[in-house]
Symmetry: C2
Subunit: 546 residues, 2 copies
């Protein structure tokens, strides 16, 4: 029944990407815009750091040669190596701006199919070359940056050519999609079938299905199917010990889930090349509303009631007073704003939205304006707070880059905890991380919070830190703040990451929370699948140093 | 905020259980009832197999002695050993009736706390004694039956004393529950808090939380949270290499999920002793309806539309014509019956039920009677088809035992597949398994099908086989039919089990579908956590024979 797409159309060509910062180069802020932005941050630098020309970068010498049989897949061009050196965390962007390129991979490979991936891994294992799987490089946790270890070379395995939707099963609402497909590319291939994956992380335009799967990315839905994990029917993974293909079924109780071992393995156990993904009908009915709360604690209680109501809003984003002010959605007054959204491909959603708004009202919320009309297959409109917030959301990474050029520390961290722990966590983050910001920068602290996803048993709070840094010390300053954040989350029993993965940056917090017997099991699994220790060394585990 | 229950009340005392068959001895069918039932199955035996007295059983000699320090936890009483020999599959019941007790464990241990579990595992590892974790013994796949291997003895680790709810977090709607708690016992401890786990497998009264977790049991909800996996916040697992305690959070993206490795590990990696479970408010509104379909294929299409509607019925059970007739819910005529149920702790559900019924009607269904009134906190009533089916459902295992005493093969197998494959799977099962039934029994085949759970991408069909067997050959006959069923499911790309686990009986089908690299990883994890190979040997993996 599934339609095998015999000659899958190439998706619209991927946009040119910035080698140093977020997204499309033509969207980056100008020097003047950077300066205007920084004027809002007391103590920011007066001039923007220049963006180095790729040609001017000092890259380390290439240590390994391309084997002849694979040469057509490999590049050692400086632009390729520079663009594959870092992810897109604040600390990555700053280091790129300073031209720190010691971590550049020796080679960048762009396999065309699974056979190429197998051949590249075979060669790398024999040559003791580390392999860093690379989707679109949007990691904010050092997930694609080789550090230390004693490999003879480093290969960045760029999956961007594996960008097709290969098969669509309309009746089961599922599709077989290659791991290197970017968000817009896979959506454009699904659109003719009336289907959508509806996984829209902030990085949507510049991240890939394979990256989402390897990092257990958080997506569009604020409730219910929050992580991409739940949208997976089966995975195909190339490991150095063979290709793993799980059975494509809607549910199974046959032993521990094979897919759940690879989901979140961050390229350490194998390279995800394809997945059968569960899709949605394109929603025909949407509605949204914003609710203002005078007291943040009342807003938290409202969100908890909503999360436990079984009404499953697609959007349920609570902005604390600072975040609301920063996003421009609160019309002054220091209140918190809750943005609610519901959607359906089957029928009107106004009733469900009304129930949600009623729950918010029961907890002291005031709807900002009338719920928007439903029955419109467009992004929720008619609700200006939601619209304002959405634009700010998508623009955020560019603004972050602009601030970075002004030596302003602008970074986020996210977590999840149970409802009983949230009030204390919220206080502790402001107190402890606030103290770290003040100690490091001497500047007034600005720590905002929003909920990106919520569960019946707790929220996923997302914190933003903005503070002027000292030129040349930006990374060290952020690292000190981040260490305090990880320490605080650990003390509060909250996870080190809700949807940004572990990478290399979260290792200390991850090791604190990972049960030691599970660490033993995972290391043993790694040894079985990657005996040469070439796959993304340093992520989840120590890099081999023998 | 969580209430630590300082002196947790003992739950109502557990009911006495049959050593040979299902459930409570006083619920078993009398000889006369057995004979009356068998009269409906052409070719059934004329007299019921007698139930042997436990005292008359020939048990193998006990091979290992109880160490003095642990003696107070151990029993080698024949009644204990006999009751811990088998699970509750048809083939288990028949072998018990024939007094085949060669697989009896040497000792039965009843630890009182985690320390006892650790001590027992330590002793067993040193003594080369196999440990078979045992909840309430409801496995239907040979999950609690030691077979082969070369251990010096076998210990059945009965967790029934670990039966308390230790802590309740009302605000996050979660509780810390010990693994040995039976369904009714844990629900009675949650009731004063207004909470419920709402995990109601058919085995509810005679199965435990730990068993559900270790086997990824399927529960109450026909859609959305079908398996117990989704209800887990964190797990505590005693492994021979240490105690694993995962972080209690509502969601996390920090590496592969530790819990998902232990869920479905069926006692091979460790012994689950406690879990923080996500709970529900007790539903205050319920409604149900039954819909009759002339054509089974139309009913399947209706169920698919419902599963893809986002309406998430709690019950969505489709009975094919044979199953409907067997359950007595179809008033003749050879139609299929769809039983729908919705529930909420927050508001009326009539609207949602009406939408579901409308979807069924769109596909040719006729509501059997008016949807029942909602707003009643009782099992769905007012819908006689649903009530009739529910009674039959709970009575089924006793009837199965009665049929077994009449040498009637009465057994089930379940699976899951994507919607595109279901029509062919349904045909293939009737053709291939039907042929096997006919070959083995010479009797007319009776294979019924119902959907127990449904997903947007496919159903979980549950097949029942009933056919007269030959006295003394019942197990061999069923094994041949079961082999054909596993072969057919494998050929059709369906899972060997949706919610009955792998155990020992499903090993051939499991090995066919488990990706080989995942098998490598899992074996390595097993070796790391259970280096002596004592934990439930023969389940998921080969038992050590070195």
């Amino acid at each position: 029944m599934a339609d095998r797409i015999s000659s899958p159309p190439r998706p619209e060509s991927a946009p040119t990407r910035s080698w140093w910062g977020w997204g499309a180069p033509d969207q980056a802020l100008s020097d003047a815009e950077c300066a205007a932005l920084a004027a809002l941050v007391p103590g920011a630098a007066e001039a923007a750091l220049p963006v180095p020309a790729v040609g001017s970068l000092e890259l380390p010498a290439v240590r390994v040669g391309a084997p002849a049989a694979l040469a057509h897949l490999l590049s050692s061009a400086p632009a390729d190596r520079a663009a594959h050196t870092y992810g897109k965390a604040f600390r990555d962007v700053v280091r790129a701006l300073y031209g720190e390129m010691a971590a550049a991979p020796d080679l960048v490979a762009r396999p065309r199919d699974e056979r190429d991936v197998v051949d590249l891994l075979d060669w790398a294992a024999g040559a003791e070359v580390a392999v860093v799987p690379y989707g679109a490089g949007s990691s904010v946790v050092g997930g694609v940056e080789y550090r230390a270890g004693n490999h003879r070379g480093v290969l960045s395995l760029d999956l961007s050519r594996l960008d097709r939707v290969l098969e669509v099963d309309r009746v089961s609402r599922a599709a077989l999609i290659q791991a290197g497909a970017l968000g817009p590319g896979l959506e454009s291939q699904l659109r003719p079938h009336g289907l959508t994956l509806r996984h829209f992380p902030q990085s949507f335009a510049f991240s890939t299905l394979g990256g989402w799967l390897a990092t257990r990315a958080g997506g569009h839905y604020a409730t219910l199917h929050t992580h991409i994990d739940d949208l997976v029917e089966s995975l195909r993974v190339v490991t150095p010990s063979g290709v793993s293909q799980s059975l494509r079924v809607p549910g199974s109780g046959a032993g521990p889930s094979p897919d759940r071992l690879f989901l979140g393995s961050e390229g350490t156990l194998g390279v995800i090349t394809e997945a059968w993904m569960r899709l949605q009908d394109r929603p025909s009915h949407k509605a949204s509303a914003s609710v203002l709360f005078e007291r943040f604690t009342a807003a938290v209680d409202a969100v908890r009631a909503i999360a436990q109501s079984g009404l499953h809003p697609a959007n349920c984003r609570l902005l604390d007073p600072g975040e609301a002010a920063l996003s421009g959605v609160a019309s002054g007054g220091g209140g918190s704003v809750l943005v609610l959204g519901v959607e359906s491909a089957h029928g009107p959603v106004d009733g469900r939205l009304a129930e949600l708004v009623a729950l918010a009202r029961d907890h002291g919320g005031s709807p900002v304006e009338r719920p928007s009309p439903s029955s419109s297959d467009r992004p929720a409109s008619g609700d200006s707070a939601a619209d304002t917030w959405r634009s700010a959301f998508l623009r955020m990474p560019y603004i972050r880059d602009g601030l970075a050029r002004m030596s302003v520390i602008s970074e986020t961290f996210e977590t999840a905890c149970t409802w009983d722990r949230f009030p204390e966590l919220y206080e502790a983050v402001h107190r402890e991380v606030g103290a770290a910001v003040q100690k490091v920068t001497g500047a007034p602290r600005l720590i905002n919070c929003r909920f990106t996803h919520v569960y019946p048993d707790g929220p996923a709070p997302y914190f933003t830190v903005i503070a002027a840094g000292r030129r040349g010390a930006e990374v060290a300053m952020w690292d000190e703040i981040k260490a305090a954040a990880m320490e605080t989350l650990g003390e509060q029993g909250a996870t080190v990451t809700h949807h940004h993965a572990v990478g290399r940056d979260h290792r200390p917090g991850y090791e604190r929370q990972r049960p030691e017997p599970f660490a033993l099991a995972l290391r043993a699994a790694k040894q079985a699948l990657d005996p040469a220790g070439i796959l993304n060394p340093g992520v989840l585990f120590d890099a081999p140093t023998a």
